[in-house]
Every structure is written in C-alpha cells, then in structure tokens.
C-alpha cells in the first residue's frame, strides 16, 4: 500500500503538473507532491524496520536495508530540492531565462525523474532497473537543455549520446546476466532477472559469462556514475542545466547509478569467487579521484567546479565499495548519504549566488558574505563540509575509508591523500575568493529559500557527530549484505 503510494504519487504528479500547465501554484503542487512521496518513503521505511524485507507486485519490487535507506534519502532530497526550486525558478523566469511553458516542462519532468529514481531503487528486476535508469536520463535531457542556449544544447546532446551509448552497454550486460541466470533458474523468464533469486543462486552462475557481463555493466552504469574516464557528460550537464537539476543529478542520479553498480558487483563476485570486480572498481574509483582533483584546478565555472567534486566523491565511494569488507562498505554507504546531502546543499547555495552575481563564472562572484550572509555562509559551510573538515559527516566517512585503506590497500592511501589535498586546495581557494572580497551583485526579485541548505548541513553535521543507533544498525545490515555473507 505505502509502496504503491510511494511510486504512484510522483508518477501521477508528473501527469497532473503536465496538465496543470502555466496556471499559478504549480511550484507549490510540486512541493506538495514531493512531500507526499517523502511521507510514503518514511512509511515504507518504518515498515521495513518493523517487518524486515518487503516484496511487492509478484516480487517485481523489493526493499532491503540497502535500498530502503537510499529511498528515504532520495525522497528527502527530492523534497528539499522542490522547496529550493520554487523561488529559484521564479527568479529565473523573472530574469527572462525561462517561459511559462518551460516551467511546466520542468515541473512535470522533475516528478517523472523522481518516479524513475524510486523505481530504479526499488525494483527487484535487473531489466527494469535498466529501463528506469534510462528513463531517468531521458527525463533529464530536456531539463539540461531548458535554457536553450547553445552551450546547454551541447551539454544535453553530450549527456544523451554518452549516457545512451553507456547504457546500451549495460543492456548487453543485462542480457548476458539473463543468459547466465536462465540456465540456473529456468527459461520461463519469470524469475531469472529478479535480484533476490539471482542472489540466492549467485554461486552457481556461469563465471565466464558473468565476468563479461560485469565489464559491460560497469562501463554502462559507470558512465552514469561519472567514473573517469567516462565522466565527460557530467560537468557539462551540471553546469548548463538549471541548478535544481544539477542538485538532483549530483545528489540522486549518481547515487542510484552507483547502487546499480554495487548490486551487479554483489552478483558477479558471488559467481566469480574472486575479488577481480572489486579490484576493477577500486582502480576506476582511484582514477576518478585523481583525475577530478587535477581538473578541479582548471575550472572557472562554479557549477563545473562542484560537478568535478562530485566525480571525485563518486570515485571515493567506488573505491570504498571496491575495498569491500564491512567497515569499508559502511563508510561507503555513509559517504553516499553525506555527499548527497552536502552536494545538493552546495548547489542550492551556488544557484542563488550565481543569480545574485548574474554569472556562473567564479571570477564574477565576489563578496557573498557581505552581499547576503546566508548564501555566503551556506556556501562556505557546505564547502567546508564537502572538503572533509571535522565535525561534518564527510570527515567521518572519509576518515573511515582512509583508515581502512591503510589496513587493506596501503599502496592506495598516499594517492588518495594527495588527491584529497589537491582537491581541498583547489576548492577552498576558489570558495574563499567568492565568499570574501568586495561585493558585486544585484537584488533578487524573490526571497531565496535557504532553509534546505541549512537543513542538509545540519543533518550532515549530525551524522558527523553522532549516528543514531538504528541508522548505524541499518548501515551495518546493508554493509554486511554487500559483503555477501
């Protein structure tokens, strides 16, 4: 029941908002729908806590500790982003960058995107997971090109083609997975792509086929995660789309794609009886961290800067999942949570900062603290949090990842530390120049909504200081499930 509400609220909401069109209060309806989705997610979560794993609709959908926390996170960030986007999009419309028709497209696609994220997270069917992730890309392509500027069209095209080709590889991987599963689970095709069934027999799946399948799945979903060297679409799509879209891309889509990679990894590792998939994931992760740290230095656009920072953090998460083991997985899950919260908070602050200054160029943004202390502090604190300063949650997860790396993969620790240091210097120097200095800016026609920024940062701070026991149990359950025994 709660489950149906969770998936149908945003889906019907997308239709409603498409029909609602340019009438007033569309933004409020968007918030209300997101709030409904969030409540449903909470209800589902409570049920999973009380009753354990759930399946629905002939096992096509399921919830276990791993995905249920991502469902709650997704619904929460979806809600706060909708709150943020109300004044933001209004200001954009007033500045003449958007027409009413495009706002309608935006609201409708936003809800559709949320639906697809939730379907991708909760589906038990590896084929449906593919379908939902592809649909999520398609629903955001037109959002990236919302401003119809040449640069945004280019970003949208790149996003479409690169992710399209990537996801085609993932489809081939899924076909191979089905091929291997069919031999064990029978050709009826009813259960052969269901993850729970696959996980139960993963030891019997044909290793050669699954090894090949993993290569395709990793390239496919890895493109979506933004793992280097498949990350090219990511900075463009983040920089050229409207800021709420950047926030959900960074905060949600990357997480969900990472979730897909991890689900595949669990299966493949069970079949291969070797740690090769983990090694590959670790190498991709490390490469992403290093490359993005270097690219951070060359960024002049504030949204591109933080987009590269997302690649870096996704690399850290991939590395942690690659190391495996209960502690590393725990840290990776925690990092997914805090990165999602912090990065979306940063994008909220960045969005309003860019509106204030009338430009996304870092050199044009000055004196935010003097101009608007809340935006200035939001950006400053967000950056401090994402750079891994204690006592924020990112520090806790990065600390866990680094200490585990010292124990399990000592060779990688200096590389990680160096890359983190380089990224730190690059981001901090730029943020400092934007926050301090002589103010240049204009008045905004609407009051920016900065509550989401501080709500997110407060949560990240809380997670850094104290992880509530039930949440820790939950992470632990998910982590041990990913370890696979």
């Amino acid at each position: 029941m709660e489950f149906a509400v969770l998936l149908l609220t945003p889906l019907l909401g997308a239709l409603l908002l498409a029909a609602w069109g340019a009438r007033p209060r569309a933004a409020e309806i968007n918030i209300a729908l997101s709030f409904g989705t969030f409540l449903a997610a909470l209800a589902v979560t409570v049920r999973v806590i009380n009753e354990g794993n759930l399946t629905a609709a002939h096992e096509q959908f399921f919830l276990d500790p791993f995905n249920v926390f991502l469902v709650t996170l997704t619904a929460f960030v979806g809600l706060t982003t909708s709150i943020f986007s109300r004044p933001y999009m209004r200001i954009e419309a007033e500045h003449g960058r958007l027409s009413q028709g495009r706002l309608r497209l935006y609201h409708s696609m936003y809800q559709l995107f949320m639906t697809m994220m939730l379907v991708a997270l909760t589906t038990n069917n590896m084929g449906l997971l593919w379908v939902a992730l592809e649909a999520a890309t398609l629903s955001t392509v037109l959002l990236v090109t919302l401003y119809r500027t040449p640069a945004s069209l280019e970003a949208g095209w790149k996003y479409f083609i690169l992710c399209g080709v990537g996801i085609a590889q993932a489809l081939f991987g899924t076909i191979l997975l089905y091929f291997a599963a069919e031999k064990v689970l029978g050709a009826e095709g009813v259960s052969a792509l269901l993850w729970t069934h696959l996980a139960a027999v993963k030891g019997e799946l044909e290793p050669t086929v699954l090894g090949l399948a993993f290569a395709f799945l990793l390239v496919g979903y890895g493109t979506k995660v933004g793992l280097a060297p498949l990350h090219n679409w990511l900075p463009d799509a983040h920089a050229e789309g409207p800021t709420p879209v950047s926030a959900v891309l960074s905060g949600l889509l990357l997480n969900v794609a990472m979730y897909a990679v991890v689900r595949c990894k669990i299966l493949v590792e069970g079949a291969l009886q070797s740690t090769l998939p983990s090694k590959i994931l670790m190498v991709f992760g490390l490469l992403s961290v290093v490359l993005s740290a270097l690219f951070l230095w060359r960024q002049r656009d504030i949204k591109r800067l933080f987009a590269y920072s997302s690649i870096e953090h996704m690399g850290i998460i991939a590395f942690a999942f690659g190391m495996g083991g209960a502690v590393a997985n725990f840290a990776a899950l925690l990092h997914m949570t805090v990165h999602s919260l912090t990065k979306s908070a940063i994008f909220f602050a960045v969005g309003h900062a860019a509106q204030k200054s009338g430009s996304q160029k870092i050199e044009d943004i000055r004196g935010l603290l003097a101009l608007n202390p809340t935006i200035g502090w939001g950006l400053m604190l967000g950056s401090i949090a994402i750079l891994g300063f204690p006592p924020f949650g990112v520090f806790a997860s990065e600390f866990l990842i680094l200490t585990t790396a010292m124990k399990q993969e000592p060779w990688a620790t200096p590389i990680l530390l160096l890359a983190l240091g380089v990224a730190f210097a690059a981001i901090f120097s730029r943020v400092q120049s934007m926050v301090l200095g002589q103010p240049t800016g204009r008045r905004l026609p609407h009051q920016p909504a900065l509550l989401p920024v501080f709500a997110h940062l407060a949560l990240v701070l809380l997670l850094g200081l104290y992880i509530p026991p039930y949440l820790a149990d939950w992470y632990r359950a998910a982590a041990s499930m990913i370890v696979g025994n």
């Binding site: 084929g127 449906l128 090109t145 040449p150 399209g164 076909i175 089905y178 090949l212 002049r300």
Partner: protein, 222 residues
C-alpha cells in the same frame, strides 16, 4: 555431414543480411538511405524473430516480433523520415575516416566480435547461438558508425542500429528477454526518439544546422 534444417538456414541468412546491412550503413552517407537501411535492418530482425517464434513455439516471441515490426520497421523510420523532411537534412558531411578506412576497421571489429562471442556461444543451448557473434558485430559496427559521423541524425541512426544488435543478441542467446523488460526497453527507445525529435528542433533553432561541429565549444578551459 549433418544437415541444417531449412528454417535454421533462413535464420542464419537473416543474421548474415543483418551484418551486411551494418556494413552498408557504415559506408552510406545519404541520410535518407541510412534511415532506409535501418528500417531494412528492423525488417530482418522482425523476420528472424518470427522464424524463431515459429520454430520454438514460444508465444512471447510473437509479441516481441510484433513489437519489432511496429516500432523498428514502421514507427521509428517514419518518425525519422518526417524529421528529415521537416529539418531538410540530406547529406552527412565528410566522415572522420574515409569509407575504405572505415570498412577495414569494420572488418577487424567483426573478427574481434566473433572472438568475444565465442565463449558465450559455446555455453548457449539455443539453436541460434552461432548468430551471437553477428549480434556483437552489429553492436560494435553501429558504435563505429556513431563515432565516425558528424551529423546528429546519423549518430542517432547508429544508436538505433546498436539497439537492433542488442535485441538480436538477446534473441540468439536466450530467445529474448522477459516480456516486461522488452516492453520497457521498447518504450524507452520510443521516448528517446521523441525527446530527440524535440531536441533536433532546438538545435536547429539555435544553430541553423544539425552539424555537430557547432557543438564543440564546451571544452575544459573555456
């Protein structure tokens, strides 16, 4: 020598034509002809699925065949032709690599594809397992078509041809995917084309051309 049944021979012929069409697409520079080749490829896929459905008696393959006919032989080519007429794109500009060069790369790719498919084909129990190499080759050739073209429209045709290869691969390895997944994939492809249609008009409005030369300004250090 064991005699191959007639319907299997027909299926193999379909697979061979599919591969030939992929090569033809690699060489073709007129966009209208490219779309026709794509439709023909869809038709071959349709015939192959139908033959396989008849041979194995699996009813879901008939549905899959109907889906292929509706989507890949009728709807998508029609949509692309309509777009070409409205946008008046006729020729692709010079590809990145000349035609003989592309052909050579294509040949090497086919050998590679067969090598890649070999271990899987040995494990398969389907009658069509030998076509798996062809499916992988079609996917890779479509990929080459995509990366050597400059016009947005030809890249999209390459993308759809890749989708054809994937479907053919699923069919020859496992007699198709579960129905719900096939429907989902078909829906995604259809929506992707609609999104692209909108997208083309946006690009056109902005640049007066569908040449991807225009879309090369987002570099790292701008």
């Amino acid at each position: 020598m064991q005699h191959t049944p007639f319907d299997l021979q027909l299926l193999n012929a379909c697979a061979a034509i599919l591969l030939l069409l992929s090569f033809a697409m690699l060489a073709q520079r007129r966009i209208v002809a490219l779309v026709n080749l794509l439709a023909l490829q869809g038709a071959m896929l349709f015939i192959a699925t139908l033959l396989l459905a008849w041979r194995t008696g699996q009813s879901h393959l008939y549905v899959s065949a109907a889906l292929t006919l509706g989507l890949k032989v009728i709807a998508l080519p029609w949509l692309l032709h309509a777009l070409i007429r409205r946008l008046q794109v006729q020729w692709d500009s010079e590809p990145l690599l000349n035609v003989p060069g592309t052909m050579l790369v294509g040949l090497v790719t086919v050998v590679f594809a067969f090598g890649l498919a070999q271990p899987i084909a040995q494990l398969a129990s389907t009658a069509t397992r030998n076509s798996l190499g062809i499916a992988v080759a079609v996917i890779l050739l479509a990929f080459i078509t995509m990366i050597t073209r400059r016009k947005a429209m030809s890249q999209v045709v390459g993308f759809l041809s890749m989708e054809n290869g994937l479907f053919f691969g699923a069919m020859s390895a496992t007699y198709g995917m579960p129905m719900i997944v096939e429907f989902g994939v078909a829906l995604d492809v259809l929506v992707a084309m609609l999104v692209l249609g909108v997208f083309f008009f946006q690009i056109r409005e902005q640049f007066d051309s569908l040449d991807l030369h225009n879309l090369e300004s987002l570099k790292e250090d701008q």
